[in-house]
C-alpha cells in the first residue's frame, strides 16, 4: 500500500526514540554495576539528538500519515519538542535520586523514554484508537515507574492503585470509543465532527459514547470527580516519578484532549455549544475541589497533587472556551501547559534536591529553609508565587492569558471562579513559604543522622545540591521569569500550532 507508507520517513524521530529506548535497555544488560550511571547521559544525549532531528525534518511540514491517522504539523512538532526537552530535564533531576535509591537505573530510563514516545504519538494522533494505543503506552510505563521503589510499601501501593484505576479508566475510554464507532461508524476526529455536525438529533448511544470518552480522559488528567487516585499515587511514587506524573503525563493528556476537542467537537458548532457547558462545569468543580482540599495537606507531594488538580481545572476551563473562529483559547491552554510545566519542574527539582540532602518531604521539614539552603528556598518560593499567579513569573502571564480566553469565549463566570480559586491557592502556597522564610531552623538540622530509609545523612550545613541540580534549577528559574516577562516568541510558536488544529480561525 504505497499511499499509506510513502511519507513514513516523517516518523523517523519516533523510530529513533523507540530505538533509543530499546538501545538503553539493551546496553544496560551489558554494563557492569559500577558503570550504569552512563545510561542517563546516553538517554539525554539521544533525546537532544532527536530534538535536532525533529526540528530539521519537520519544521514547517503539514502532512498526514497512514491515511490521516497521524498528523505531522506545527501542533505535533511543538509538543514533540516540548516533551523531548522536558524529558531531558526530568532525566537530569532524577539522576541523583535514582542513583542513590532505586535499583535497575537502565530500565528506569528506558521506560521513561518509551513513555515519551507515547506522549509524542498522543500529540500527533488524529484518530481514537491510535490515540488510545499511545495513551496506553504512556500509562503502562507510568504504572511501572510509580511502583519503582520495590522495597517501599507506599510505592507498591501507589503502583497497584494506579494500575487498577488506570485499567478501569482505559476500559471506560475504550467502551466510549466503541459506542461512538457503533453510532457513527468512524473514529477519525475529523470524520466524527462531520458526523456530529450532520447528525441532527444525537442518538443516546452517541451521547453515552461521548460521555464515557470524557469520563475516561477525566480519569487520566485527574479531573474531579475522577481524581481520587492522584494524591495517593503522587505520595507513594518516587519523587522524580511524581514530578513526571504532574508535568509530563498531564501535558500529554491535554495535548490529546486539545486536538480531540478542536478537531472532533468544535467544528460541530451546535453540539459543541452543549458540550461546552459540561466541560465548564467539570472545570469549575475541579478547580474548586482541588484548591480547597489542598488547604488541608501536610505532605508536600500530596499538596502538589491537589494543587495540580486545581490547575487541571483551569486548563479544562480553557478547553471549554474553545471556539471554531478563534485561536485564543487554544493558545491559552498551550501557553498554560508550558508555563505550568516549567514552574512545576522548578518546584519539583527543588523538592527533589531537598530530599536528596535530607530524606524529608513533609511541609514542616522545610522550616527555616531560607537560612539552611537559601537557593532552594528561593526556587520553591518563586515557583509557588508563579503557581499562585503573581508577576513577574510565568504564572501571572499564563493565567491572565488563559482567563482572558475563557472570558472572551463566553464564560466570564468561569473566569471569575478561576480567579477566586487562584486566591484560595495562594493561601496554601504562602503556608509553605512561611515555613521556609519565617519559621526558625529546627534543632535537628545541625546534626547528621540515620533516618528510616537507612541512609546516613551528613549535617546539612556541609551539603549543597549537586551541580547538575543547580543547573536544572537555574535553567527552569530563568525560563519561569522569561515566560512571565516576555512570552511573545513562545506565543508565536503556539499560534502556529493552534492554526494547525483550528484551521477555521
Amino acid at each position: 500500500m504505497p499511499e499509506l507508507t510513502q511519507n513514513i520517513g516523517l516518523l523517523s524521530p519516533e523510530f529513533a526514540l523507540a530505538g533509543l529506548a530499546l538501545g538503553i535497555l539493551a546496553i544496560d544488560l551489558f554494563l557492569p554495576d559500577g558503570k550504569k550511571q552512563v545510561t542517563p547521559w546516553l538517554s539525554a544525549a539521544g533525546l537532544a539528538g532527536i530534538i535536532a532531528l525533529s526540528l530539521y525534518m519537520l519544521w514547517g511540514r503539514q502532512e498526514t500519515l497512514y491515511g490521516g491517522l497521524l498528523a505531522v504539523d506545527a501542533f505535533s512538532l511543538f509538543f514533540k519538542v516540548f516533551f523531548l526537552g522536558l524529558g531531558i530535564l526530568i532525566i537530569f533531576t532524577s539522576m541523583e535520586y535514582v542513583d542513590r535509591r532505586l535499583d535497575n537505573p537502565g530500565e528506569f530510563y528506558g521506560l521513561l523514554l518509551l513513555s515519551i514516545l507515547g506522549m509524542n504519538v498522543m500529540a500527533q494522533s488524529r484518530e481514537l484508537l491510535t490515540a488510545y494505543i499511545a495513551l496506553e503506552l504512556l500509562s503502562f510505563c507510568l504504572y511501572v515507574m510509580a511502583a519503582y521503589a520495590k522495597g517501599e510499601p507506599k510505592s507498591n501501593e501507589a503502583g497497584l492503585k494506579y494500575i487498577l484505576i488506570g485499567a478501569f479508566s482505559s476500559a471506560i475510554l475504550l467502551y466510549g470509543v466503541s459506542m461512538i464507532y457503533s453510532s457513527v461508524g468512524v473514529t477519525r476526529f475529523a470524520d466524527i465532527s462531520l458526523a456530529l455536525g450532520s447528525a441532527g438529533d444525537v442518538s443516546p448511544a452517541l451521547w453515552a459514547g461521548l460521555a464515557l470518552l470524557v469520563v475516561g480522559l477525566g480519569f487520566k488528567v485527574s479531573a474531579v470527580p475522577f481524581h481520587m487516585w492522584a494524591p495517593d499515587v503522587y505520595e507513594g511514587a518516587p519523587l522524580p516519578v511524581t514530578a513526571y506524573l504532574a508535568i509530563g503525563s498531564k501535558a500529554a493528556a491535554f495535548a490529546l484532549i486539545l486536538r480531540l476537542v478542536a478537531e472532533g467537537f468544535v467544528p460541530a458548532e451546535d453540539l459543541w455549544s452543549q458540550w461546552q457547558i459540561i466541560f465548564a462545569v467539570l472545570a469549575a468543580v475541579t478547580m474548586l475541589v482541588g484548591n480547597l482540599v489542598a488547604l488541608a495537606q501536610t505532605n508536600l507531594k500530596r499538596l502538589m497533587a491537589y494543587s495540580s488538580i486545581g490547575h487541571v481545572g483551569f486548563l479544562l476551563a480553557g478547553i471549554a472556551a474553545l471556539a471554531p473562529s478563534s485561536v485564543l483559547a487554544s493558545n491559552g491552554v498551550m501557553l498554560y501547559l508550558v508555563g505550568y510545566s516549567i514552574t512545576n519542574l522548578l518546584v519539583f527539582a527543588a523538592i527533589i534536591a531537598f530530599f536528596n540532602l535530607t530524606g524529608r518531604e513533609e511541609i514542616v521539614d522545610l522550616a527555616g529553609l531560607a537560612d539552611r539552603q537559601p537557593f532552594l528556598a528561593a526556587c520553591i518560593a518563586i515557583g509557588f508565587f508563579s503557581l499562585g499567579g503573581l508577576p513577574i513569573f510565568a504564572g501571572f502571564a499564563i493565567k491572565f492569558y488563559l482567563f482572558v480566553a475563557v472570558a472572551t469565549g463566553g464564560f466570564l463566570w468561569l473566569a471569575g471562579l478561576a480567579i477566586f480559586a487562584s486566591l484560595i491557592s495562594i493561601y496554601y502556597y504562602l503556608k509553605v513559604i512561611r515555613q521556609m522564610y519565617i519559621e526558625p531552623v529546627p534543632e535537628y538540622v545541625a546534626a547528621g543522622s540515620e533516618r528510616e530509609d537507612g541512609i546516613v545523612y551528613e549535617p546539612e550545613q556541609n551539603l549543597s545540591p549537586s551541580f547538575l541540580m543547580l543547573g536544572v534549577l537555574a535553567i527552569s528559574m530563568l525560563a519561569v521569569v522569561l515566560a512571565g516577562v516576555y512570552p511573545a516568541p513562545l506565543l508565536d510558536l503556539i499560534e502556529a500550532a493552534s492554526q494547525a488544529i483550528l484551521p477555521g480561525a
Binding site: L328, A370, L390, F400, G416, I438
Partner: protein
C-alpha cells in the same frame, strides 16, 4: 535631553526592577553593600521622578512622555504603553521621595539584609509601574507586583504586637494583609476581563486605557454594563485604599511591618487603590461612577469618622497612626466621589500630602520604638525632653494631619470639603466633625506623649539619628512648602483633573 524624554518612564520601572535583580548577586556576608546599592538605585529613581514631574508641561496638559512597546500581538493585543498626566506626575514624585526615605531608614535591618532590599526595590518598581502605564494588563501586572513582596516583608522583618489579652502576630498580620489585597485584586481582575470582553464585542479587543477611554467617551458602553462593573473596581481598588469596611488589614499590616515598609505602604501603596478608582473606574466607566458615587462618598465619610474614633481609642502609638491613615484615606475617597473638580483635585493633593505626612509619622514612631522598645502611649511620656528633633517633626506631621493652615494637609482637606459642600452637604458636615476628632487624638498624643512630664525611664533615649533627621527634615520641608505655596503642585493636578470625564 531628548533621549531621557523618551526613556524616562521606561527607566523608572526598569531601574528598581533591575536593582532588585542585581541586589541578589551582592556578596552575602557584607549586608551594608545591599543598603548602599539600594540607596544608589532609589536616588536614581528620585532624580527620574523629579525629572518627570518638572518636565510635565502643565500648559499643554494631557498625556506626555508617551512611549509604547508591543508586548503580545493579536489576538490578545497587549502593549506596554507608558505616559504620564497631571494626576500621576505628583504620585510618581511621591513614590520617588518615600522610596528613598524608606531605603535610608532601613539601615537598621540586620537580618537577611540582601533579601529585604530585593523585595523593597521590587515593591518600588511595582508602584512606579502602576503610575506610568496606560494599559490594563500592565496596570494589573504592576499592581500585583507591588503586593507580592508584602507578605515576606512583614512576615520576616516585621514585629508582633502584644495586646495583653492577646498577641497580634506578624504572621497573622502579613497573611491578613496579603489575602485582603489579593481578594481585592480578584475583583479588579474580573472587572478588567469584563471590559476586555466588552471591547471585543464592540469590534476591537483591547486593554489600552486610551482606546477603552475613547469607547467610553463615545457612549458605546451601555450604562447597565457600567453600573455592574464599576463596583468591582470601586471595591477591588477600594480594599487597597482602606475603604471601610474592608480596611481592617491596614492598621494590622502597617503596625506589624518594619518602619521602611510601613512608610512605603501607608505612604504610597494605599494611593494605588485611590488612583485605580480614578484611572480605571471614573475614566472608563463614567456613568457607572456617577451611579455609585453616593455610596462611595458615604463609605468615605464612614472611613473618616470610624478611623478617627478608632485612632482615639488606641493605646499603641503605631496603631494610632495606622487608624489615622484609614481616616485620612476617607478624605481621598470622599474627594473622588464628589466628581467635582475642586473635590477630586483635593483628593489627589491629599494623596500626595498624606503620603508624605504618614511616611513621616511612621518614621518617627519607628524611631521611638527602636529606642524605647515600647509603643504604649500611657507609658511613653514627655519624649520631648530627650528626643527634641523627633518630637518637633512629629508635631509638624500631626498638625498637617489635623489640617492646620500653612501645612499641606489644610489645603487638601479644604478642597475636599469645598467639593463635598457643593455636592453632598450633610456628609461634608460630618467629615468636618471627623477633622475635629483628628485634632483630639493628635493633640492628646502631642500633649502627653511628646510634651508631657518626662518619665525618668526615658532618660537614656537619644534623639533621631542623622539619617532620620535628614529624611524627616526633607519631609517636613515638603509639608510646609506645599502648604504655603501649593501652586506648582496644584497647576499640574488641575490639568489632570480637568481632563477627567464627568466632571
Amino acid at each position: 535631553m531628548s533621549s531621557l524624554e523618551q526613556t524616562a518612564l521606561f527607566l523608572i520601572i526598569m531601574v528598581p526592577l533591575l536593582g532588585a535583580v542585581l541586589t541578589m548577586f551582592l556578596p552575602k556576608d557584607r549586608p551594608g553593600d545591599a543598603w548602599y546599592f539600594a540607596i544608589g538605585v532609589s536616588v536614581v529613581c528620585l532624580l527620574l521622578s523629579l525629572y518627570i514631574f518638572v518636565s510635565y508641561d502643565y500648559g499643554a496638559g494631557g498625556f506626555q512622555l508617551a512611549r509604547s512597546f508591543q508586548w503580545l500581538e493579536a489576538p490578545i493585543n497587549i502593549d506596554l504603553s507608558l505616559a504620564v498626566d497631571g494626576i500621576s506626575a505628583p504620585l510618581i514624585l511621591l513614590n520617588g521621595l518615600v522610596l528613598l526615605g524608606a531605603v535610608l531608614i532601613s539601615q537598621t535591618i540586620r537580618t537577611r539584609t540582601r533579601d529585604f532590599f530585593v523585595l523593597l526595590q521590587a515593591l518600588g518598581a511595582g508602584v512606579f509601574g502602576v503610575f506610568v502605564v496606560r494599559d490594563l494588563f500592565f496596570l494589573f501586572f504592576f499592581y500585583e507586583l507591588a503586593v507580592l513582596p508584602m507578605y515576606l516583608l512583614i512576615g520576616v522583618w516585621g514585629s508582633s504586637t502584644d495586646f495583653g489579652s492577646f498577641l497580634r502576630t506578624k504572621e497573622y498580620s502579613a497573611m491578613k494583609l496579603f489575602l485582603y489585597l489579593i481578594a481585592g485584586s480578584i475583583l479588579v481582575w474580573i472587572g478588567i476581563l469584563a471590559l476586555y470582553v466588552k471591547s471585543a464585542t464592540l469590534g476591537t479587543p483591547t486593554f489600552s486605557l486610551e482606546d477603552l477611554g475613547n469607547l467610553a467617551a463615545s457612549g458605546s458602553i451601555s450604562e447597565e454594563f457600567q453600573t455592574w462593573v464599576f463596583p468591582l473596581f470601586m471595591v477591588g481598588f477600594g480594599v487597597l485604599a482602606g475603604l471601610w469596611p474592608f480596611h481592617t488589614w491596614s492598621p494590622d499590616g502597617h503596625v506589624a511591618a518594619p518602619t521602611g515598609v510601613s512608610m512605603l505602604h501607608a505612604g504610597v501603596l494605599m494611593k494605588l487603590g485611590a488612583y485605580g478608582i480614578i484611572r480605571v473606574g471614573m475614566v472608563l466607566l463614567p456613568e457607572g461612577a456617577e451611579n455609585w458615587m453616593p455610596l462611595l462618598i458615604t463609605l468615605g465619610t464612614v472611613n473618616v469618622l470610624y478611623g478617627a474614633v478608632s485612632a482615639m481609642s488606641q493605646t499603641d502609638l503605631k496603631y494610632v497612626v495606622g487608624y489615622s491613615s484609614v481616616s485620612h484615606m476617607g478624605y481621598v475617597l470622599m474627594g473622588i466621589a464628589t466628581l467635582d473638580p475642586i473635590g477630586v483635585g483635593g483628593a489627589v493633593l491629599q494623596m500626595f500630602s498624606h503620603g508624605i505626612m504618614t511616611a513621616l509619622m511612621f518614621l518617627l514612631v519607628g524611631a521611638v520604638y527602636d529606642r524605647a522598645h515600647i509603643r504604649d502611649i500611657y507609658v511613653l511620656n514627655g519624649l520631648f525632653g530627650r528626643m527634641r528633633v523627633n518630637s518637633f517633626f512629629f508635631a509638624i506631621a500631626g498638625l498637617a494631619s489635623l489640617g492646620l493652615p500653612g501645612l499641606s494637609g489644610f489645603i487638601a482637606e479644604f478642597m475636599v470639603f469645598t467639593g463635598a459642600f457643593r455636592t453632598y452637604l450633610p456628609l461634608a458636615i460630618l467629615a468636618v466633625v471627623g477633622a475635629a476628632l483628628t485634632a483630639v487624638y493628635i493633640l492628646r498624643l502631642l500633649a502627653r506623649t511628646f510634651l508631657g512630664e518626662m518619665d525618668p525611664r526615658w532618660e537614656h533615649l537619644t534623639d533621631a539619628s542623622p539619617v532620620e533627621k535628614a529624611v524627616g527634615g526633607v519631609f517636613v520641608v515638603i509639608l510646609i512648602g506645599v502648604g504655603v505655596w501649593p501652586e506648582p503642585m496644584m497647576r499640574v493636578i488641575n490639568v489632570g483633573v480637568a481632563s477627567l470625564p464627568g466632571i
